[in-house]
Symmetry: D2
Subunit: 246 residues, 4 copies
Amino acid sequence: MDEQRIIRVGVNGAKGRMGMIIAEGIRSERDMQLAFEADRSDDLADCIASAGADVVVDFTVPGAVFENTMAILRSGASPVVGTTGLTAEEIDAIDHELLNRNMGGIYAPNFSLGALLMMRFAEEAARYMMPCEIIELHHEGKLDSPSGTALMTADRINERAGTRRDGGGGTLEDSPRSRGLCQGSTRIHSVRLPGLIAQQQVIYGGSGETLTLVHNVTSRACFLPGVLLAVRQVLEVRGFQQGMKI
Amino acid sequence: MDEQRIIRVGVNGAKGRMGMIIAEGIRSERDMQLAFEADRSDDLADCIASAGADVVVDFTVPGAVFENTMAILRSGASPVVGTTGLTAEEIDAIDHELLNRNMGGIYAPNFSLGALLMMRFAEEAARYMMPCEIIELHHEGKLDSPSGTALMTADRINERAGTRRDGGGGTLEDSPRSRGLCQGSTRIHSVRLPGLIAQQQVIYGGSGETLTLVHNVTSRACFLPGVLLAVRQVLEVRGFQQGMKI
Amino acid sequence: MDEQRIIRVGVNGAKGRMGMIIAEGIRSERDMQLAFEADRSDDLADCIASAGADVVVDFTVPGAVFENTMAILRSGASPVVGTTGLTAEEIDAIDHELLNRNMGGIYAPNFSLGALLMMRFAEEAARYMMPCEIIELHHEGKLDSPSGTALMTADRINERAGTRRDGGGGTLEDSPRSRGLCQGSTRIHSVRLPGLIAQQQVIYGGSGETLTLVHNVTSRACFLPGVLLAVRQVLEVRGFQQGMKI
Amino acid sequence: MDEQRIIRVGVNGAKGRMGMIIAEGIRSERDMQLAFEADRSDDLADCIASAGADVVVDFTVPGAVFENTMAILRSGASPVVGTTGLTAEEIDAIDHELLNRNMGGIYAPNFSLGALLMMRFAEEAARYMMPCEIIELHHEGKLDSPSGTALMTADRINERAGTRRDGGGGTLEDSPRSRGLCQGSTRIHSVRLPGLIAQQQVIYGGSGETLTLVHNVTSRACFLPGVLLAVRQVLEVRGFQQGMKI
């Protein structure tokens, strides 16, 4: 009904696997309109100018993300950036430019609502139950161990929990290999097997009980609802918000 | 150091299985002192008067809980009640008496921190991810299905989520038996097997992902940390607080 | 080395999602050669005759499977059939034709090695541990509940276990809806949620312990290793073998 | 009915936690009779002689187990030994004595049927699906990591599977700490948290699927059915059988 409420959204990186899912997702939302689909062969500033986008979602490559984000905000659109690779200095520069223009942007390495909720709950549980351990299970093609999400989760837990005791005898550093990696007071175990996609478990031990959070990904489509939420939120943001606020 | 900070705690029902765990737990806390251990053969008011308790924890039987709670508060101690069986009228009467005396009490059917966190997270997740289903797994001796905790969890989810769609084809009411019980828009599945103690899973479905909360109980000791937390909180409460605030 | 050992394999239904995976899989096996890829527009007998296939894998549609299977065996190739829909009479007719020609075929509704192992282990465990319950979790688009695999698993367990006791109070038939479906003495619970693909759990209860078998599917590629195994086994089979022998 | 079929069973270590469960279990079996309950204060040979036991179950301490076992067999009863600590030489000596007398004994470090089935299934699955990883989760009081059962499971898997590839990039030895311990080609991860009792998961990866075996212990009573099975089997055994045959 209210013409003003329709958000015009451009997608940069629209031929990539994430970009295609996002463009399709935007098309099926009633409060959004797909303004344009750009790829590396297009001039991004031209696309924004001619299509009149309010928000541009960028899922491209690390080497192009800073330039893309600056082009988006200079064209007057709010950037929602899922591409990783921005340095701290680049983030500061983008934040500065956005604030100068009284605009907002969102930069999130993980738009999955399930992952965001898991991390938030993991942090909250650390106030009441400790210690905890993380098991992350990924397909055999994943080369890094542990996963970035596991490290980030452990950091958030440790900040909240402070240094606590650890089970199993012995100090954290000097323990058998089967006890995994110590990230602060939180141990991380990485499983890599064919037939897995991506799963993370956070297990809290308590007196006579455990509480386990399990986030399981089955397709790339898990990023879509978070991106759509960011598109709706970014127009209210000022500066370059790090991570989704849920 | 600060003599004032030591909370004197009496345990009513101290020979019961829960009471014994709680009495032992209180003994090992540095900010608490076990004032008395009473059982059905003792006069509760006398125990409180002679021992000078600040707080009395009651884990007795449904038939005695109202009388016990009134006796505790009339003796000037704050009741922490884990015994079930109070009617709405009795809860109101206790609340009234406590407020008249500018005192507080806590009534909680489940003091397990893990269960409390699971329910809180289940409610919060309902804002972002739906639908969900609950699987609760208990030992074969449990006669009621579904469990009270599963019903309470479903009610809290439904309140937050409103009525939503349900998977699997067909309406909620008219669905195959294997699809379990519909409590509002949340389905509940009950497993009863020897070798299980008590577990509840809440599984949220989303776009390309699931988030699962698993609470697993391995011993009665799971109630202790919540009871100790209630003992510390109850002196700040006014009226008869329903459920633990965490 | 041994030229005789190369099995020439044709794929019928090669443009279907399963057929494409199978054709690609055959291409990467050293002891197999992809003889032809046929679809509904091709004459299957012609394909077999001109390409000289030893084995033909059929993943087509229920309405065509009997005719296809007969065409395959009459052309002298051994059929490996993953298409469902053959009646008991049709299976008998195919078996008869194959035995007459001293040939073999394999008919398997599920070629996933994980599913086959799960069913075999579920059956073996029934000799030592009972009772058990099945939880099957599938994407919300699956219309039937319970799954065919869950019913088949329950039947195999019941055959082995005989009628046993059931937990949770009350008879099998007259029990609360949350207790799921009774298939003989085995209860089945069906979860349907977005974000799930396909999972089955078989939980055995015992004295102070449980044993759980979990089969989780993350992509259609799960059928490939079983199909390749069937291609290798079928040349030794006589008659129309029902199900994979592992 | 058949008087001959009643097995007279003595329990050595009857005041220990395992011994008490076993004595109580024997009392409730219709085909067994509890011949005696002995502890360290009793003369074992005297007990057997005066009570006339067919089988003696020994759950005592490593330092006494060899002497106990020899005393049992010399008194003419068949030993079922759950106490660990026998050396290879002692096992040989017991085997020799038993064969000389045309008798049998069973020595099993783990009588849990669930654990035995898990290990057997893990071994069988290794023929069809590889690689696999083991996660074992125990209470924080368990000092050794990994568990003996995890090591034994890995050894049985490796024997069956031979050396296979391993996921996650890099060689087995030179991998990040979060990837756990390499026992041959099988990785082991150990979790130690309060609120856990004892669980082992064996996860097999395959093409587009995983198969997971989960053994979960909730009480010491898990050993009883295996001990009772051993009591029934031992009279048919000749020599000192290592491990339960199921």
